[in-house]
């Protein structure tokens, strides 16, 4: 500890004003403040004491909330791998090892590319490295299919960080959720690697898939064949319980609604994620799906029982981890109810009526990111109007 402090103090002058590496100060600062909370004290006037929280701790809390999804995702990648190869005897450890082998490089690439760009912009702009990417860097791998080519992860990360975030001014200024932008970029640029075929959702390691293994996601099957019977034909594989627990094919971290709920519990308990957005997101999806369910006729997707919608695909993951991103979400408490509800409702709407995009959550979140300021605008206008009304009453 003292050694680290001494080393930091020794090299510090080089990074300070007038030092040789002055320009790299933000990079030095990022490492120094990672090791030690700085000795900055409160300014002369105003609050002389400050809350123990800072952005680093807040972001770490979100990462901790994602760990259940990450670990389950790794296991599930291995699990699907052995299922596809017809090996039903593989142990828990075997599955975890295969999963880690597939998932960890994606995580490493996401962090390396994203943080690299963050550091570059911080140095160029001379501001400190914000911690926002710590969360984004974990979200990106979790919404990728296990077989995603590594170079695509790198390109998508770079695209999202630069175009969705840095051009707007960095952390706190972005309009769109950065991780969702990365996914959307790949979805439209390289659709063949992001949807549909069996080899996207299951890591085979080049071996042959046995007959009878589903391979596709529940959403994909329901959309493709336009019938719920298709799901039933896989027996209990796509049962509600299995979908809830998440041992089905899908993006790395999204399959388990259970793990997402554990994450939601952590976010809500710590107050880091808005419970209003999470609750209204699920309610919105359920209400929309129930509406379609009771309307007679229409397409077969409408016949899927509403509770299935909550556990299929990425809805749970998106509502819990993407919709609650405080920067791109609605900022007013009233607005958060509408924002979450519309994300859930739109997700189901897109799923049911747009077979080209069986995964609705991605577009729903991005769409509502764009509309969040509008929601806030109306909430704020209402507040202003209360004030104006009061003034008019006085004058009258």
């Amino acid at each position: 500890m003292k050694f680290v402090r001494d080393t930091l103090d020794k090299i510090k002058p080089a990074f300070e004003k007038g030092g040789k590496l002055e320009k790299l100060h933000p990079a030095y600062d990022a490492f120094e403040t990672f090791a030690f909370v700085p000795k900055h004290t409160t300014p002369k006037l105003g609050a002389q004491i400050r809350d123990a929280i800072d952005l680093k701790r807040m972001m770490m809390t979100v990462i901790i909330a994602m760990i259940p999804c990450l670990l389950f995702g790794m296991w599930n990648v291995g699990h699907q791998h052995f299922l596809a190869l017809g090996n039903l005897e593989a142990s828990f450890i075997d599955k975890l090892i295969i999963g880690a082998w597939v998932v960890l490089p994606v995580v490493v690439i996401s962090y390396a590319v994203g943080l690299g760009i963050e550091f570059y912009f911080a140095v160029q702009r001379g501001h400190s490295v914000n911690e926002g990417y710590l969360v984004t860097g974990m979200l990106i791998p979790l919404v990728m299919p296990p077989t995603i080519p590594w170079w695509q992860v790198a390109v998508a990360t770079a695209f999202a960080v630069v175009v969705a975030k840095e051009v707007f001014g960095g952390t706190g200024m972005n309009v769109l959720n950065v991780a969702m932008t990365a996914r959307a970029f790949l979805y439209f640029a390289y659709p063949g690697d992001m949807a549909g075929a069996t080899d996207v959702w299951v890591y085979t390691g080049g071996e042959k898939i046995v007959d009878g293994y589903a391979g596709a996601t529940a959403l994909g099957i329901a959309a493709d064949q336009n019938t719920t019977d298709a799901l039933a034909s896989f027996g209990s594989f796509f049962s509600f319980e299995n979908l809830f627990i998440g041992n089905v094919p899908g993006s790395i971290g999204e399959t388990s609604a259970l793990m997402c709920l554990i994450g939601a519990g952590i976010l809500i308990f710590t107050g880091v994620g808005s419970w209003k957005i999470i609750v209204s997101g699920f309610v919105g999806a359920y209400v929309m799906a129930a509406l379609f369910y009771v309307i007679p006729g229409g397409n077969a997707f409408m016949a899927i029982p509403p509770h299935y919608h909550l556990v299929m695909g990425g809805l749970a993951f998106g509502v819990v981890f993407m919709a609650t991103d405080p920067v791109s979400a609605a900022q007013t408490e009233v607005g958060k109810w509408y924002y979450g509800f519309l994300i859930g409702a739109l997700t189901v709407l897109i799923r049911v009526f747009n077979p080209a995009y069986p995964e609705g959550i991605m577009l729903a979140v991005l769409l509502m990111n764009v509309f969040a300021p509008l929601i806030d605008y109306y909430v704020i206008e209402a507040n202003k109007n209360r004030r104006i009304k009061r003034l008019k009453l006085k004058i009258a």
Binding site: L45, A47, G271
Partner: protein, 450 residues
Amino acid sequence: MNLKLKKGFDINLAGKAKPELAGEIISEIYSFKPTDFNAITRPKVLVNEGDTVKAGTPIFRDKKNEQVHFCAPVSGEVVSITRGAKRFPEEFKILADKEIQYVEFPKYSESDITRLSKEEVLEAMLKSGVWPNLVERPFGLVPNPGNEPRDIFISAFDTHPLAPDYEFVFKGQEKYLQAGVTALQKLTKGRIHISIPSGNSSIFKSLTGVQIHEVSGMHPAGNVGVQIHHIAPISRGEHVWTTTPYGLQQIGRLFLDGRYDSSKVIALAGSEVIEPKYYEIRNGISIAKLVENKLKDTNSRIVSGNVLTGLKVSKEDIIGFNHNLISVIPEGDNYEFLGWILPTSKKLSFHRAFGLFSFLSPKKERVLNTNMNGEERAIVQSGVFEQVLPMDIYPVFLLKAILANDFEEMEALGIYEVLEEDFALCEFVDVSKMEIQRILREGIDALQEA
């Protein structure tokens, strides 16, 4: 009116003052600082170095608000007038007499005060030095006597950390408080509103001619701005005046005793004070005298006022004009290894993010230091300021309007209803570590000058 506030946050610091008056502290030198007041831009100095003054002799005036006289708190010789940029008089130092001489103002009996006219009350208050105990909202200024206030508000309790207990401080002073109220009644066609904590017996309940409101809730329930917001909010074009029981007491003494007597009972509190107690002082006493032999031998910070809105002072400084508390807390100028992630139950947090366990023991008294506990960042978190601000106001949007210098938006979002102290808790809980009170003051100043 019964007011139940649900939002807010109590900060329970160690080192509260024992309800015990430890005596009077006397200093050789007393000072007056025009910088204790907002928006004084055209100062006029009324004395020269070497002049002798009495307690109540005018020493300074603001040409923008000419009728208001700022007066010497003690009698003695003006030994120095320190000037800053543009020759702005920053500090008047007075070498005090052993026995304080007072300027003689007319004395009245309690019933006489009722018969005074508005003009007589104004005249007495403006000349004698008690006037700056009043604060005008919006903007938090020394009131302009020409702006008749819609109402006058007084909060009779202070919910800030370590704040003095008014029930203790003003016990036995009811006569002066009542005289102060009676005088203030002449200045407004509206009401005198006094807020007290609900449920307790209070010496303020015995005051007549006032509207009593019982308020319950966590800090900032005791902030007069929050009370005004719920009782009768300030709209554009309106003026509301506020004062404290300290102000009432001084106004009362002016009319009953005929003097500007600036003595008051303040608390010296905080974890770094050996025996936190109450002391009697006069305005402008030096900090060095005040804390002499009373502090622990630690690396500490002396704050004039409370730890949420106060001013860091050195021993050469004085207690602020409107301050009734000196808080002494540990200075936090040390590094903390991995302090941003290690679990802690010692440090206080409004949040419950990973590793912050203070929510498990909300009642516990804490020793908090002045470390920022993090670095300044972009605004990321939303919805937290609203939980500690019991007002129908969107603080983040208001702050953004200020940063964008958008006057119309500031007005529409309710800047007239707030002063820095109301946003102090937002500054405390802020994840992004912004200087929220400074930003708000900049907005208020910009709007006031516009």
